[in-house]
């Protein structure tokens, strides 16, 4: 078990180095940060001096090596756009994204699994068919459009919910949460739905097809023959066996929710790391971009590791196999 974890951590470092290398080689094509940092009146002379000071004239491999060295010692640089430390910026913005991702993942899981089981059990009912048809909307409409549509309906027309921002947040240590205030909770609803709709639909369809598959198997038939209650069959036996692929998908999706909530954050002006990244790209704020990409790589690697460990918890066969192989 320990060997497994160590092996995965080493892989993680390699993945992150790879991501950093690819990111760095792309930065040359994003534009010139000096142009954004200095007003239009700056002379050519001044711009050259600024580029020199920032180390932008050094060859790319040298810049990359310096970056790896700095990052390894915990120095992530100062944002070109805001003049503040990148680590401060990320810590300031991370709670917003993590909270949004968590709430939307919970929504997606709860409704996804719930609706998936319902539509699997009542396969031919009217309710199930309506839900399946409606779920196509969740998959085919782009996030952007769903967000704007929800804002239009709930903020502009009905005036029930706010159209942008996080509302009042309460700071607890370095974490800031919107869950403790009414405006914070209200602000979470629309972005969480927008972000979670695609995942919910995905999970729902996955759970449904897996459940239908499992409900056809022999051991379910025998359990029914034995007189086991429907509830026991559906949830205790069938659902557990559908969970392995659901965990895989959810894990990957959670990673992409955290890393790429960019569109939702832009539509709702949600002050998370996604919006920070988009602002950085438009400004060519290289320190923020490179640190963010590393953070994203770390997130994916960690989640995949957690997912793999969860397999062991959920699927007894994997536990047995391993120890059998050790003989």
């Amino acid at each position: 078990m320990l060997a497994f974890i160590v092996q995965r951590l080493l892989q993680a470092v390699l993945v992150m180095l790879g991501v950093a290398l690819v990111a760095f080689s792309m930065f040359r094509f994003v534009g010139d940060p000096v142009n954004n940092m200095m007003g239009q009146e700056a002379t050519i002379q001044e711009r050259r001096e600024a580029a020199e000071r920032l180390g932008l004239n050094k060859p790319v491999p040298v810049q990359f090596a310096l970056f790896v060295k700095d990052t390894a010692s915990g120095n992530f640089g100062v944002s070109y756009r805001q003049g503040r430390k990148v680590s401060t910026l990320l810590i300031e913005r991370l709670p917003a994204t993590l909270e949004l991702a968590a709430i939307s993942a919970i929504l997606a899981l709860a409704f996804g699994i719930g609706l998936g089981v319902y539509t699997a059990i009542n396969r031919f009912g009217l309710g199930a068919r309506l839900i399946m048809a409606g779920s196509l909307i969740g998959v085919s409409l782009p996030t952007f459009l769903i967000g704007i549509g929800l804002i239009y309906l709930f903020a502009v027309e009905l005036r029930w919910l706010p159209s942008f921002g996080r509302g009042q947040v309460v700071k607890i240590g370095w974490w800031s949460t919107g869950l403790l205030t009414e405006s914070g909770r209200k602000s979470l609803i629309l972005p969480a739905i927008t972000l979670g709709l695609f995942q919910m639909t995905l999970i729902m369809r996955l759970v449904r097809s897996e459940m239908l598959e499992v409900l056809r198997t022999d051991y379910i038939k025998f359990a029914r023959a034995r007189g086991v209650s429907d509830r026991m069959i559906n949830f205790s036996h069938a659902l557990k066996n559908t969970l392995v692929p659901v965990i895989t998908i959810t894990g990957l999706q959670l990673g992409s929710i955290i890393a790429f909530a960019i569109i939702t954050e832009t539509v709702f002006q949600w002050p998370g790391v996604g919006l920070l990244f988009i602002d950085a790209v438009q400004f060519v704020d290289i320190p923020v971009m490179s640190t963010y990409l590393l953070l994203v790589a770390l997130v994916f690697v960690t989640i995949n590791l957690a997912v793999d460990l969860l397999y062991y918890a959920v699927d007894p066969r994997l536990r047995v196999d391993r120890s059998a192989a050790a003989h």
Binding site: G83, R84, A155, Q282
Partner: protein, 529 residues
């Protein structure tokens, strides 16, 4: 006895309500871009100035009609005895937000700070040799040579407190190579009508009214709490205005103006901006990199440039692309600028046949192919304007390939002379043609011509341009400007499209006139009763 007591309480309560209602007037503003920093000298750009103008103040500022308004300076004259010295008289009895007095020491300190190597404003003060305090309310600015228009450069140069800056170790503007942020990036101490309460960059900046503001009698200062929110996405910004979550949107997307102006309780005010949008062409090189013509440069022919100018349908662009939010023009000098003449702006009538004939006369009867480089995230509908231009030039046989990209890529390419045909916009903060000549027409050197991507180079004009900054006789100077335009305007290395129009969306109880610099001065806002 009891009823009269209740009555008394009721009256008192009503009185309190009236008093607090009258003084608690919040204003929530939304804008797509945030101020980059609260340090007034570290960034020289629009949104940063816009926010800093509420907290800090310059010596003079621009009114919407272009006049200079005395702010922290009450008068400014060039000494008759020495044309290289500006004497600035300062406003007395002004206090900073921390209670410290504003004196000449602060002016000397602030101007020197703005000249520091890490300041983004030093380009405006290159003519300055030294700044000297004469007494508590008088300052002398000594210039290297006579600088009759130096005062124009001071409209966005803010005054900071020397004592406060020393105490908080912000003697120089933030150096972006530095490892830490400085105190001034998120803390302020100005003389303005509003004081900073909290700052969350990219989210929200909150200010409250300065009750000791020197201008309380001159300006209404009705707003008691001011919140600047950043809303990047255009539809969300408009939604926030429509739902009543914000009261003022400073950059209304063009396509939503009709919707908002017909909404009950809201209004949209439009006004011309001091910014011209135009096309630049490489007239200097022997052969173009981005055209299919080998051995010669089609843009070097005046007739080709005239043909292109004649092929543009600026009215169509105004109606279709800009939803009427533009003012077609024929010169890259906006009307606010000293040196602008209406004759320069006379647009030649659109004539596709005549344009084709001109092209044939120039030796290109079947036109030619060229790439147009365009930004897509800087000016109002910039990419759409370029798309319209492509279609219009196609009608006279010029096949244009459009390359639209971010301003971060576009502007450096213009500066490095890596484009032959491009769209550019140019604002003129000093309201003088000198500014346009220096950056857009002067030959490219280390100090001048920074955005002259047309490779236009005329030694005689260069000399005349340089002489403008030290010419003290204003009549002579204006004549020289007219002469320079007389050469540049018909040369047509730039084809002007239009002057940009800004639209501000706001609650109907406000009626704020659009300022050509796209700056708001909240102390002037009045709510209709």
């Amino acid at each position: 006895m009891r009823t009269s007591f209740k009555y008394g309480v009721a009256v008192a309560a009503l009185a309190v309500m009236f008093v607090s209602a009258a003084s608690a007037t919040p204003l929530r503003i939304a804008r797509s871009g945030d101020s980059l920093t609260m340090d007034p000298h570290s960034q020289n750009e629009g949104p940063t100035h816009n926010m800093n103008h509420q907290i800090y103040e310059p010596l003079v500022r621009r009114a919407a009609n272009g006049d200079l308004i005395p702010t922290l300076a009450t008068s400014w004259t060039i000494l008759a005895s020495d044309p290289k010295v500006w004497e600035i008289k300062l406003r007395p009895n002004v206090k900073f937000h921390d209670g410290g007095a504003f004196t000449a020491d602060d002016v000397v300190f602030s101007l020197k700070r703005a000249m520091a190597p890490t300041s983004d404003h030093k380009g405006l003060l290159t003519a300055v040799d030294d700044i000297v305090k004469v007494d508590d309310t008088t300052v002398h600015i000594k210039t290297k040579g006579p600088s009759p228009l130096l005062i124009q450069n001071l409209t966005n140069l803010f005054m900071m407190s020397k004592a406060w800056s020393e105490k908080n170790n912000v003697l120089v503007p933030q150096n972006f190579v530095a490892k830490e942020e400085t105190f001034a990036v998120r803390n302020t101490n100005g003389t303005g009508a509003f004081m900073l309460v909290s700052r969350e960059p990219d989210v929200k900046t909150v200010m409250k009214r300065n009750d000791n503001y020197w201008g309380k009698g001159t300006y209404p200062v009705e707003v008691s709490e001011l919140t600047f929110s950043v809303i990047k996405s255009a539809p969300t910004r408009v939604a926030a205005l429509l739902s009543g979550e914000v009261d003022f949107v400073q950059d209304m997307p063009v396509q939503d103006i009709a919707r908002v102006s017909t909404t009950q309780g809201l209004r949209v005010n439009s006004g011309p901006e001091n910014r011209s949008i135009f096309l630049g062409m490489n007239t200097g090189d022997k052969e173009l990199k981005f055209s299919d013509v080998k051995g010669k440069n089609p843009f070097a022919e005046l007739k080709v440039r005239q043909a292109m100018n004649m092929a543009l349908d600026r009215e169509a662009i105004k109606k279709v692309v800009m939803a009427d939010q533009s003012i077609p023009s024929n010169t890259i000098a906006p009307p606010f600028v000293n040196g602008y003449k209406k004759e320069m702006d006379a647009i030649p009538p659109r004539d596709v046949n005549r344009a084709k004939a001109l092209l044939a006369e120039a030796g290109y009867p079947s036109g030619f192919a060229i790439t147009l480089h365009c930004p897509n995230d800087r000016y109002l509908n910039d990419e759409k304007i370029c798309q319209a231009v492509v279609g219009m030039l196609g009608q006279i046989g010029i096949k244009v390939t459009l390359d639209a990209r971010s301003k971060s890529i576009h502007f450096p390419e213009i500066q490095k002379l890596q484009t032959d045909f491009y769209l550019l916009g140019w604002g003129v903060p000093t309201y003088d043609s000198d500014y346009i000549f220096t950056f857009l027409y002067h030959t490219l050197t280390g100090q001048f011509g920074g955005f002259n991507g047309t490779r236009f180079s005329n030694a005689d004009i260069d000399t005349k341009i340089k002489a403008l900054s030290s010419e003290t006789d204003l009549a002579k100077r204006n004549k020289s400007i007219a002469d320079i335009w007389g050469v540049l305007q018909p040369y047509l290395n730039y084809i002007a499209i239009h002057n940009q129009v800004n639209a501000w969306g706001m609650k109907a109880s406000l009626d704020v006139k659009v300022h050509p610099d796209n700056t708001i001065y909240v102390k002037e806002f009045k709510f209709a009763k």
